[in-house]
Amino acid sequence: MILEAKSIFKTYKGINKELTVLDDINFTVLKGEILSIVGPSGSGKTTLLGLCAGLDHPTSGSISLAGSMISSLSENEKAEVRNRKVGFIFQNFQLLPTLTALENVMIPLELQGRAKGAKDKAEQLLERVGLGGRSHHYPSQLSGGEQQRVSLARAFSNDPEILFADEPTGNLDDETGAIVEKLLFDLNKEKQTTLIIVTHDLELANKTDRIIKLKGGKIVSDQFIKTDAQI
């Protein structure tokens, strides 16, 4: 088991009353599993992703991620877990605008203190996502699809145990989306990474092993589609 969420509540203080975004969430994810979280807007998908990835802390409940009780760690300890064990892909790419594609991919390795060899690995990954010739370009010089491919390369650069993807194709056209999607699943298969995708796209969700449906901050269904990833 790589991820376990127990009795997760997340509430925000409103002007007059408390707003419950996540309401008693419980689930576990096994190593190598490919899982999607779906649900309508405002159902709490992104909040749940943020909590599981250690970007935020729950109001109550506990989360265990890759052997660490992430809900009780300090900010710096969570940062270390993210850097060593987690990879991210965002809908809006979230590349550092002042860094070249190559430097963006190198960053997680350099954060681990693995500067030696970081460049070679980053170059290989960029080559793998088809951007070998664009490694010295800045994000503003790349198209959306290219930016997301750099983001993919960056996500896999630190050999994460688990990868969180927030609407990875949400900002891309169908054709580009399909290329990115294929790359994501291919790389995931190569690296044997656990993958959690937050998406609206049921077609994409149906390509995963398991779908958790959220509504009004609660899990309304947790359905296993395949026993083994067959993409």
Partner: protein, 838 residues
């Protein structure tokens, strides 16, 4: 911490954004440059004063007063000195027969080998050596040039005509501005008596220049005897005193330059804080990504701290270099204002001070906004709105350090911890008021939002309170900048006005003094024959205070508990008597007694400051020694004298009926309509009454005006420096604010807003910010300058509103123009291009 990554990330991240920090750098460069230039100049001045005070004095020590030395004092000096030179100095009219002109001069009669240090420079050279032994005069070079005199011409001083044997190219001991009013003429001391210029009422100073035995400790000698000399109204000036006098003479210039340095530095601080704040805001997303990828908060903070501190240090170094170059230009600007040439050289002290202060201020003011980086949550990668803004306790610590640093810096300028604290609290209060105004504005606009206004106005106004608004940053930075600049402007005007007022309007411009009592009618007739009015014609009797409040002067002087001031006790009183109190004086206490009847007590009127100096009140007894005769009087009234009137002012006024038979001379005050009449009248007086002297206040005012012009030039040059930094700060704040509005404006454009609408929305926002900041800043400046004028400079407070209105319009226009210039970038380029760059 992963230092190599921190350094690498800091360099990489700054690559594309260095231009955003250009304005941050320029405010530091200029602020530090001003500080270094001013400190270098001050250091050079102090060093030169140190080096030159001996040669400016011309001797180890001088002893002087308005009476000759007594025998016991001469004996005391003889035990000390290897050589002595006596000087007799008096102000008198001179007549230039070859030009038929007359001029008020400072006449110096010298015997002995003065100067002992430095050289009396004359043209021809040998004139300096020979003038004392023959009938000869050395005349100030400026006066020679003014009247077109040549060596070989003559000058009539009193009853003797002297051939001019040399031009006087330098002078000793004359560092006061008064030297400009009366040019110096040197003659041999033995020739003074023959001129017959020393009469009752003549302004005569006696001075001894002393060269001291090398093994004598002058400070110890002076400490032992200063009292003895003071009791005889003689003043000792040593090289050390001269140095202090020189420093005193320059203290106002120093103070002003120091204020400019402080203002420049404060403006630079605002520039640093506001540009770093906005820079950090533009970096929040990058910080969130780095945090998301596993960078610790301290590491993320360090990345940007390193960027800022390295660029800051580089700017400080550039500032130090620029300041060192400027200080070479300063003496050219100040030329003519200084009594001698100041040798400019690099001042390591000023450079180190500027560097340390620059780095300290940059770090502290940048740390405030930079600390916020530690609070940037990685969740921002998912949601922009999840940015929790909590007050960081460390930030309060930084604010505390900033307060201590500014107080410390002010302490080095003022030497008074209390003043430094009061000034710092003043600056803090101004900041808090601006903060309050910004907060009130965002609250008020939201609360009383004009829902029925047009789309453009609603958009523009809502920008004032929407998330990521720049209301606080811009109101505080523009307001503080405007406030400081306006304060400087108002104070400069007040100082100049107060001096210029002396020469303004229908003031008298000529004073004749030294008129003997039997020449009263003659001088009045002469004045009338020139069609000039007799504004004042009053008698003057010199006397000395012998006793007061039942104790003799000697007893008072040896009384260690006395509160009366020495200057008031030892003053040679020049007293007048008149029936009516001068109309411009203000009666503070008691009743003015104009006439004395035989047998009654004599009630006199004293000036407020003099009565305070002497510590006497209404009814107290004062006994005067009027050239041997003792007169007992009582304080009948206390007046406040209007010193800005250019008439004779008397600290002590007697009623008529007491002093009429005492030895006295007269002073006549008149007004000449034009220069030619002034010259003719002056010549007529010199010919008929060689004992009388005519002071042409007109020419003094011209000289004074010259000095004022030079001072105001210096003030304007240095203030210009501050204004330049202020403008750069304003512009930098506004330019950087563009990054706040760019996404909104681009979205509006994408949604179909036309060029005009974008411009108008921004115009409404920037105009509101400009008006509010300028109004608050100007109000603070008016309040601040009133308090400074009243409690620090002791000046009459008045405001001229037109220039202030000008400043207001300028600031608002500048804010709007830069705001619109920022929008230009958005309007002219495609939204996609900009969206990709954001």
């Amino acid at each position: 911490m992963n230092w190599s990554l921190i350094v690498k990330t800091a360099i990489r991240d700054s690559r594309k954004d260095r231009s955003k920090l250009f304005l941050f750098m320029s405010s530091i460069i200029l602020g530090v440059a001003a500080l270094v230039a001013i400190n270098s100049f001050n250091d050079n001045l102090v060093r030169d004063i140190e080096n030159q005070s001996k040669s400016l004095l011309g001797a180890d020590m001088t002893v002087g007063g308005n009476r000759p030395l007594t025998e016991s004092l001469v004996a005391s000096l003889d035990s000390l000195s290897t050589e002595r030179t006596s000087e007799l100095e008096l102000f008198s009219m001179s007549y230039l027969p070859s030009k038929d002109e007359s001029q008020f001069v400072r006449l110096k009669g010298l015997t002995g080998n003065f100067p002992y240090y430095g050289k009396l420079i004359t043209e021809p050279k040998e004139a300096a050596r020979t003038y004392k032994s023959e009938l000869a005069a050395l005349v100030d070079d400026g006066m020679m040039l003014q009247y077109g005199l040549e060596v070989g011409d003559s000058i009539k001083l009193g009853e003797v005509t002297f051939p001019i044997t040399g031009r006087l190219m330098n002078a000793f001991g004359s560092v006061d501005a008064g030297a400009s009013f009366a040019p110096s003429v040197y003659i041999g001391g033995q020739n003074v008596e023959a001129t017959n210029l020393i009469q009752p009422g003549s302004l005569v100073n006696y001075k001894e220049y002393v060269k001291v035995y090398e093994d004598i400790d002058l400070d110890v000698w002076e400490d032992d005897r200063r009292q003895q000399f003071r009791n005889e109204a003689q003043r000792i000036t040593t090289v050390e005193d001269q140095r202090e006098n020189l420093q005193e003479a320059f203290s106002n210039l120093n103070n002003f330059l120091n204020i400019v340095a402080l203002i420049s530095l404060l403006l630079a601080c605002i520039g640093v804080a506001s540009s770093v704040l906005i820079y950090v805001k533009t970096k929040v997303q990058s910080i969130a990504i780095l945090r998301c990828l596993g960078m610790k908060s301290e590491e993320a903070f360090m990345v940007y701290f390193l960027q800022i501190i390295s660029l800051g240090t580089l700017s400080v170094i550039l500032g130090v270099t620029m300041g060192s170059i400027i200080q070479v230009i300063l003496p050219i600007v100040l030329k003519g204002f200084l009594p001698y040439e100041v040798n400019m050289s690099m001042s390591p002290n000023a450079m180190i001070k500027g560097f340390v202060m620059g780095v300290l201020i940059t770090s502290l003011f940048a740390l405030g906004p930079l600390l916020g980086i530690r609070r940037v949550t990685p969740l921002r990668t998912l949601r922009v709105s999840d940015d929790v803004q909590q007050r960081d306790p460390l930030q309060w610590l930084i604010y505390g350090f900033i307060f201590i640093t500014i107080t410390g810096f002010l302490f080095t300028l003022t030497d008074s911890l209390r003043d430094a604290f009061v000034f710092s609290v003043g600056i803090l209060t101004a900041f808090l008021i601006l903060y309050g105004v910004a907060k009130s504005v965002t609250w008020a606009v939201r609360k009383f939002f004009p829902s029925s206004a047009s789309f453009v106005v609603r958009q523009g106004l809502s920008n004032l309170y929407r998330p990521n608004n720049q209301t606080l940053t811009l109101i505080v930075s523009i307001g503080l900048g405007t406030g400081i600049l306006t304060l400087l402007f108002i104070l400069q005007g007040l100082i100049l006005n107060n001096v210029e007022d002396m020469g303004a309007g229908n003031q008298p411009n000529m004073i004749v003094f030294g008129i003997e009592a039997d020449q009263k009618e003659e001088i009045e007739d002469l004045t009338k024959s020139f069609n000039m009015p007799i504004i004042q014609h009053v008698p003057v009797v010199t006397m000395e205070l012998a006793a007061w409040k039942g104790k003799s002067k000697k007893d008072w002087l040896s009384d260690t508990t006395r509160t009366s001031r020495r200057w008031a006790i030892n003053r040679e009183a020049r007293v007048s008597y008149q029936e009516e109190m001068p109309p411009d004086d203000i009666l503070m206490k008691g009743t003015y007694t104009g006439t004395h009847n035989a047998g009654d007590s004599i009630f006199i009127s004293l000036d407020e400051r003099y009565s305070e100096g002497l510590n006497v009140e209404i009814g107290d007894e004062l006994v005067w020694n009027v050239q041997g005769a003792m007169i007992t009087t009582y304080v009948g009234s206390i007046r406040k004298i209007n010193f800005r009137k250019l008439e004779s002012r008397f600290f002590i006024l007697f009623p008529i009926g007491v002093l009429e038979d005492a030895p006295q001379f007269l002073i006549l005050v008149t007004k000449s309509p034009e220069k030619q009449i002034t010259a003719n009248f002056r010549n007529a007086v010199v010919k008929k009454m060689p004992n009388a002297s005519v002071i042409d206040l007109g020419s003094i005012l011209v000289t004074l005006n010259d000095i004022i012009t030079k001072v105001s030039y210096v003030i304007k040059f240095m203030a210009g420096f501050s204004i330049l930094i202020g403008l750069i700060v304003l512009i930098s704040s506004l330019f950087l604010s563009k990054f706040q509005r760019i996404r909104e404006s681009v979205l509006l454009r994408t949604l179909g807003a036309v060029e005009k609408q974008i411009y108008r929305i921004n115009a409404v926002e920037y105009a509101s910010l400009g008006i509010l900041s300028a109004l608050t800043g100007i109000s603070l400046a008016v309040l601040g300058s009133y308090l400074l004028a009243k409690f620090v400079f002791e000046l009459d407070f008045s405001l001229s509103w037109w220039p202030i209105l000008g400043i207001f319009i300028f600031i608002v226009a500048l804010t709007v123009i830069i705001g619109l210039w920022n929008s230009r970038d958005i309007v002219k380029r495609s939204p996609l291009e900009i969206l990709r760059n954001v």
